[in-house]
Structures are given as C-alpha cells and as structure tokens.
C-alpha cells in the first residue's frame, strides 16, 4: 500500500482544471498530443479511449490463457490533435473558421477525444442524468502494466507510486495492452511508454499532485492509504464510502471514488418520485455491488446533516479547509521510502 486518491464525484464539476494542470506540467511535448495522464469524462458514456472498458477481458488480463488486452488505435483516442494557432493572429482571424482541431495523422476533423461526450446524458427526459468521472493511472496494488513488461521497466515504489523506467523502456507496449484502464501511452517521438507519475517530484516536496492541488471543486483527497491520519484512509478504510472503478479487473486500484448522487426523478404525471435518476445498476457496473451500501450510508449522513446533526463523514467530504484534503509525509521521510 502507499499513496492513494479519493475523488468525490458529487463535487467534480467537469471543469478539466485538473486535466490542464497535468497536461501543462507533464505532457505538453511533441509525441504527447494524445497523452492525457488525467482527463475527465462524462458518464454514462463510452469513455476515453472509446470503449476502453471492453479492451481487456473482464476477469483480469493475465488471469486467463490466451486472453490479451488491446492497444487502442489512435482513432479510438481521437488522434493526435493539432491546432492552427497562427489563424488566431491579428489580420488572419476569420470568425467563419473558428479554431478547431485536426488530427496530425490524417488532417481530418477528429470524431473522438477526451470527454467527447461532454454533458451527454443517459436516461429518458425528464429522468435524464449525467456525471463526471475523472480518470488517471490507478497506481494499482497489482499493476497489470508491471506484470506485462518483459524488461521489468515498470516499478512500484515502496510508497506505491507506479513508474515507467523510461531509459529501460523499449516501447513494446505490452503495458498499454494489459492496462484495463488504458492509462499508459506510447510516445512515438521517444519510442517509449509513459504514464502518470503521481507528481512524485511535487509529492516528495510535500506538495499534492497537480490534479489534487488545482481541483476547483475540492473533489480530490490524497494521502497514504494506511495512514490513519490521511483523508484517503478515513474515506476508504474508516468510513468505507469510496470505491475503485471496475474492481473486477483485478488490479486493486489505489484511486477511489465517492459515488454520485443525482436529482430526484419524476413520475409520468410530473410529480417527483424521490428516486435517484442514476440507475443503481449502472453504478454497480462501475463500482461493484458495494456501491448500494455506500449510497445508503451517504444518504443517511446527508439526512443527518440536513437535520442539523453532526456528521463526521459529511464534514470530511465538505472539506472546509482545502489544505486538509491531502496529507503527505515530511520531506525528510521520503528517503525511507524511495
């Protein structure tokens, strides 16, 4: 066990500040046009890369003989987007031709991309719904990427952070193939695979990962999962209200989600029915059977708060003081871990 993250889906507003903070920090170089260590997608939807959930066998990619994962094609990621920024310069700007991406590989307008389905809902009006799902490397306890690398070029540090040893990587892409979450990316310029590094240079200096520190909705919590004083320990272990995505893939993710509520649904006559619009079956697809109990707990705690009673769980989620959303070891402690 080691560093872990909890993302409260009730507080994610889909602003992509995390996405941009990450992109600017780590993946703005040539060869990384289709690389998003962090992105936020809209659910229900096919996700990014398109239908990524179906690219690995459900029971775990290395559990069954002959069942391989699939490397996403560029088209399934939407391609390597490029923008003609010169067209924005004075004298060249044409309001009839707004800035729009074209793919580097075909020069065409992309038909997919991160959060391509922005704000597209599921359900039938007036019971339509959507929510945002931020995704990044899960820094799994049993990383499929690590087991897939024949060169042992992927390591899991003592603090849980999973890293590609880039000088030792040969770009074989077994890791991309095996990852159920498709959160490794091949960099064709460098000929290597790359992934989220959980901002370890920041974390080692006592700063939260860029996606955590920049979160406008205060949706993200970060810390060591086994540290009782860590917010992630409290949310996952103590309160039991955060769950991993697609746990059935078997890699034991260290990114957890507080499942989303939705507005009340309506009866045919237009009266509110008091039911969540997001179907419980859909939440179970994402977060497993346990989500039903988690929703019941959250409902009970919200009701307490509404009655003016104290709720330790809701106070933790409200996060009155942003800097309490993460707890990091002191800088001098890191020598003991890495």
């Amino acid at each position: 066990m080691g560093f872990s993250m909890v993302i409260d889906l009730n507080k994610c507003i889909g602003c992509q500040t995390c996405t941009v903070a990450c992109k600017r920090q780590w993946t703005s170089n040539e060869g990384q046009e289709a690389t998003w260590f962090n992105h936020v997608e809209t659910k229900p939807g096919r996700g990014w890369p398109r239908d990524f959930h179906d690219m690995t066998p459900p029971a775990g990619v290395y559990a069954q003989q002959g069942l391989k994962g699939r490397i996403p094609m560029l088209a399934e990621s939407g391609g390597r987007w490029q923008f003609d920024l010169e067209s924005l310069k004075p004298g060249r700007y044409d309001p009839q031709k707004p800035l729009a991406p074209k793919t580097a590989e075909k020069g065409n307008a992309p038909d997919w991309g991160p959060n391509w389905e922005e704000d597209e809902g599921g359900g039938v009006f007036p019971n339509s719904y959507f929510f945002y799902l931020p995704r990044l490397c899960n820094h799994c306890e049993e990383p499929a990427c690590k087991k897939a690398c024949p060169r042992n070029a992927i390591t899991k540090r003592d603090d849980g952070i999973v890293l590609v040893d880039e000088p030792n990587c040969r770009g074989y892409r077994f890791c991309v193939e095996a990852c159920p979450y498709k959160k490794l990316y091949f960099n064709p310029q460098l000929g290597i695979s790359q992934k989220c590094i959980m901002c370890f240079p920041r974390v080692e200096k006592g700063l939260p990962p860029a996606c955590v520190g920049s979160c406008a909705g205060r949706a993200r919590h970060f810390g060591l999962l086994e540290d009782p004083e860590s917010p992630t320990h409290r949310l996952v272990k103590k309160f039991g209200i955060a769950l991993p995505l697609y746990a059935e893939k078997g890699t034991q993710p260290n990114v957890f989600y507080v499942p989303p509520f939705s507005a009340t649904g309506f009866n045919a006559d237009g009266t509110p029915n008091g039911q969540q619009r997001i179907p419980m079956d859909y939440l179970k697809e994402l977060f497993g059977e346990e989500v039903e109990q988690v929703m019941a707990t959250l409902n009970a705690e919200r009701a307490k708060k509404a009655r003016g009673e104290p709720s330790e769980i809701m106070d933790e989620l409200i996060r009155y003081t942003f800097n309490e959303a993460w707890k990091l070891p002191a800088e001098e402690e890191f020598g003991k871990h890495v």
Binding site: Y62, A63, I71, E105, K147, A148, P150, N152, Y172
Partner: protein, 180 residues
C-alpha cells in the same frame, strides 16, 4: 557459408513478467518461417546477410500504435554453447548487433538472460544495408570486428515482423546456434 534456416517462435511460457506467458500462450508459430543466411569472413571482418519474406514492411509506426518497427538481430555467445533461446546468462553473456528498419545505424547489443538486452552505440565501422522489395527484406551487416563470433564461431539470429505485432520475445529465431 550459405544456408536456409527454419525459424521457430521462442516459447512464450519462458517470457518474464507473467502477462506474455499467459496472454500469448497460444502463440506457437513464428511470424517468419524461414530465412536465408550468408556469412563471409575475410581479413576485413564479418559480413552477414539475411533475407526473409515480409508481406508488409513497417518502418514507421507513428500513426498505428498496434504496429511495430521491423527488425533483426545477430547474436554470438561469448562462451561456446551459451544458452541461446534464453539469451545467455550472467556468466555466459551474448554479444550482438541489432538493426531496426527506422534507423540508419545499428546498435551493439548484449544479453545476460531474457529481458536483459542492453543497447549501445555500435562500434565504428559496423554498418547495415537494408532493402525491401517484392515482399522481401534483404539485410547485410558489415562487422569489421565481432569478437564473440570470431572466438566461438557460433551465430544465432532473430527477425521481428512489426506488422504481426512482433516485438521483444515475440519473434522468429534460429532453433539454436549455427556453427560456422
């Protein structure tokens, strides 16, 4: 020496890591079934020519992450009869040269077991000449000094067809050392 070699797919069960051994357990056939080999030794060193069928050449995979660059490698044991399929051992390393279709210069490579291959800049004078025509790669290595081959006079080689997703241990190799 001139011969045609029947190639094999190394057993995936021995691949390190755990994933390849199970996910690719059904891969038993090499992507390239045979290759022509011609070896010449002279006072100028070694010249090794390979020729193999490749229906599709891959020299650039930028736009297709499921394709891999074609390649070929020669290896010689530093100690006679060092393990070939498992790529040598720390006590019996292999030395060799690696060509990849997107590069003008080859790499010098060494191995001490599976997954241990290290690349380095090739010595001066090591060159490759590659030509793809009519669905066939013709590749010639010119190696003025190839000490391991000179000492042990044993040679093995591997071929990767990127269009068939061959890379790393997914390759077509000689069944054992070829004695010169």
């Amino acid at each position: 020496m001139k011969t045609t070699v029947t190639l094999i797919a190394p057993p995936t069960a021995m691949q390190p890591g755990g994933y390849i051994a199970t996910a690719y357990a059904d891969r038993s056939q090499p992507g390239t079934s045979r290759a022509d080999l011609e070896v010449q030794e002279s006072t100028a060193g070694w010249t090794v020519a390979l020729r193999w069928r490749a229906p599709q050449a891959v020299i650039d995979a930028t736009d297709n992450p499921r394709q891999f660059i074609d390649g070929a490698a020669l290896f010689a044991p530093t100690v006679k009869d060092a393990p070939w399929i498992s790529m040598g051992t720390p006590d019996m390393p292999l030395e060799g040269v690696l060509w990849r279709a997107d590069r003008a210069q080859p790499w010098r490579v060494s191995a001490q077991g599976l997954g241990s291959v290290q690349r380095a800049e090739a010595p001066a004078g090591w060159t490759t000449a590659a030509r793809y025509a009519n669905g066939t790669w013709q590749l010639t290595f010119t190696l003025p000094a190839f000490a391991a081959l000179t000492v042990t006079r044993q040679l093995g080689f591997a071929v990767w067809q990127g269009a068939q997703s061959e890379r790393a241990g997914l390759k077509s190799v000689t069944p054992g050392w070829i004695n010169l």
